[in-house]
């Protein structure tokens, strides 16, 4: 059987008291099987080793840095340091690189195609200066700022028009020429006959450089 020894300190004058808590339950405190000093609530833990912690999703609080814009950076040498975020996160798109800009929508428009008893109208848009209606179901979308080349991507859809089951197809005719500043398009009847027909709404978004 191992033994438990309580030893006083010949140099000290204080009295150390081992006190039971206010409980009606039997408790056992098992001492660590090693030599050393127990860490108390007022200790700094500076001599502790072998601790592990996974801070993912947990707030890491700095006691020596202030300001909400700082972030903790792994420095590549096994240590971390607090870094200034350079004025905080930039939530605008103005600093996109040329490559980054090509990944975003450069222009979009939602317009009424002049259908039935409703005049044509641009309801909302970005980077669109106007839409020209050239004939029934035939439109040209004009960009405010032109694309760098004519190989951009237009994504189109249209809302059914005034009559039942009419204009439902939005397309780009191979007889029309796409330019960097204009995108000609049709809305037409579905089915085998692609007759141009006005759509109640046309939606178009454009991606490219």
């Amino acid at each position: 059987m191992s033994k438990l020894k309580i030893k006083g300190n010949a140099s000290g004058t204080g009295t150390v008291t081992v006190e039971a808590p206010n409980t009606n339950t039997d408790r056992t405190i098992t001492l660590p099987d090693s030599a050393g000093t127990l860490l108390m609530t007022d200790g700094d833990g500076s001599n502790l080793t072998g601790l592990s912690h996974t801070p993912e999703g947990t707030a890491v609080v700095s006691t020596g840095e202030t300001g909400a814009t700082k972030f903790l950076r792994e420095d590549g040498d096994g240590t971390c340091s607090w870094q200034a975020a350079g004025g905080g996160a930039d939530t605008s798109l103005s600093n996109l690189t040329a490559t980054g800009a090509e990944k975003t929508c450069k222009a979009w428009v939602n317009f009424g195609g002049g259908d039935g008893t409703t005049a044509g109208n641009v309801y909302d848009s970005i980077n669109i200066s106007s839409v020209t209606a050239n004939a029934t179901g035939k439109y040209t979308i004009n960009f405010t700022t032109s694309f760098g080349n004519a190989n951009y991507c237009g994504v189109l859809s249209s809302q059914d028009g005034w009559n039942y089951d009419d204009s439902a197809v939005a397309q780009q005719s191979n007889g029309d020429t796409i330019t960097t500043s204009t995108f000609p398009m049709w809305t037409s009847l579905s089915g085998s006959s692609p007759t141009p027909d006005d759509a109640r709404r046309v939606h178009a978004a454009f991606f490219g450089g």
């Binding site: 005049a119 200066s129 209606a133 050239n134 004009n142 760098g148």
Partner: protein, 91 residues
Amino acid sequence: MIIIFKQNSGIVGELWVAPEFMDTLTGTEEEKLIHIANKDLPTGTPYEITDADLSDRTFRNAWEYVAGSNELTSADLSADDLAKYNMTENK
């Protein structure tokens, strides 16, 4: 107000301005529309600024452009405007 313009097809064309773009321009409404006509219509296109009600779309392809007393002609954009719109040439 909208812009109607003459097309080679004989069918009258309509130019519907994007309000978001109009808001970026300065001047009177007519001056803004003239600027947009210069930007988005081929140079030399006859056009008129009108407040005509074009909501009845019946026989749309039979609508013809007839020159009125207020007819204007689209002009070239300035070099500065071309650069601003990333355009290499006038339409």
